[in-house]
Amino acid sequence: MDLRYVVAGTIITSTSAIFVIYSLVSNAGLVLGPSLAVLALGVVVLVSGVTFNEPNVELLKLYVNDLSRTISKVLEDSGLLNAYRLRVCLSDLRVVLSLKPVKCSDITLGFGLASDSPYVALPVDLGKVGITEVVGDDLSGFLSEVLSRRFKVCRYVRILSSSDEYVVELNTINQTIYDFIKIPLSYVKILTLFLIAKFLGRDVELVNEELVGSNYVVKVRVV
């Protein structure tokens, strides 16, 4: 469902219905035809709003679920599932999950061992979706532009603190992806961290994350 079309459809339908009633009561033949045509359009908009669904969403949900189960199993076997450090290596366009701090230069993509610590390194290249440079002057504006307006992850983004550590709140997470935030390697978490790193032009590390109602709060530290 998309509320915007539902509202638009309801307004069009109700307005044209009033005109239909008016034309019937006052016997205005010329008004009746166009009013009925607009009523038909209103019904189409209303039904479009009620039944709207992005194509392939269900398939992608299934894919994410199956993939996260596999990744969880691998992380569990590597001992990375609960105690881990998540770090963005900006120069290599990678996000690294490891038990201990590792150097970005020692990391290759995929699973591996560096400084006696198992790690998982994932590629993050937003250039493929057209995000090549920082937009705006402040961090909240940049995050809102990408996470809220572009990817519709949340309603808006707030920076709660930006002293030693950055605390970022993603307000009202989209219902479709809400459950995916709880999975071990949530792409929302990866994306948020990567965007912060990109804006600051520095590597960053996840300190803490929590779901507060429908809001997602992450605390990151510049490395």
Binding site: Y5, G33, L41, V44, T51, F52, E54, P55
Partner: protein
């Protein structure tokens, strides 16, 4: 996105209704029939619109209405 699809559909219907008003058409069934025809032609040509929304209920209602309008006109001629 369906914004574009709905805007094109609205524009097509607006043009058709304007033309009917311009020629002074007063039969309300003519407006409905043209609107329904435009709806079916547009949603058949632009199938991506149908992949995002479920218009089955509208299809059934519009087909029934269109059959009703045509039947009524045929009946009027034959009477």
């Amino acid at each position: 996105m369906i914004e574009r699809d709905l805007m094109i559909l609205t524009a097509l219907m607006f043009i058709a209704i304007s033309m009917l008003v311009y020629v002074g058409e007063v039969r309300y069934d003519a407006y409905l029939a043209v609107t329904i025809l435009i709806y079916f032609i547009y949603t058949s040509v632009n199938y991506s619109f149908r992949s995002r929304v479920n218009l089955k209920v509208v299809d059934i209602a519009f087909i029934a209405l269109f059959i009703g309008i045509v039947s009524y006109r045929v009946y009027e001629i034959l009477r």
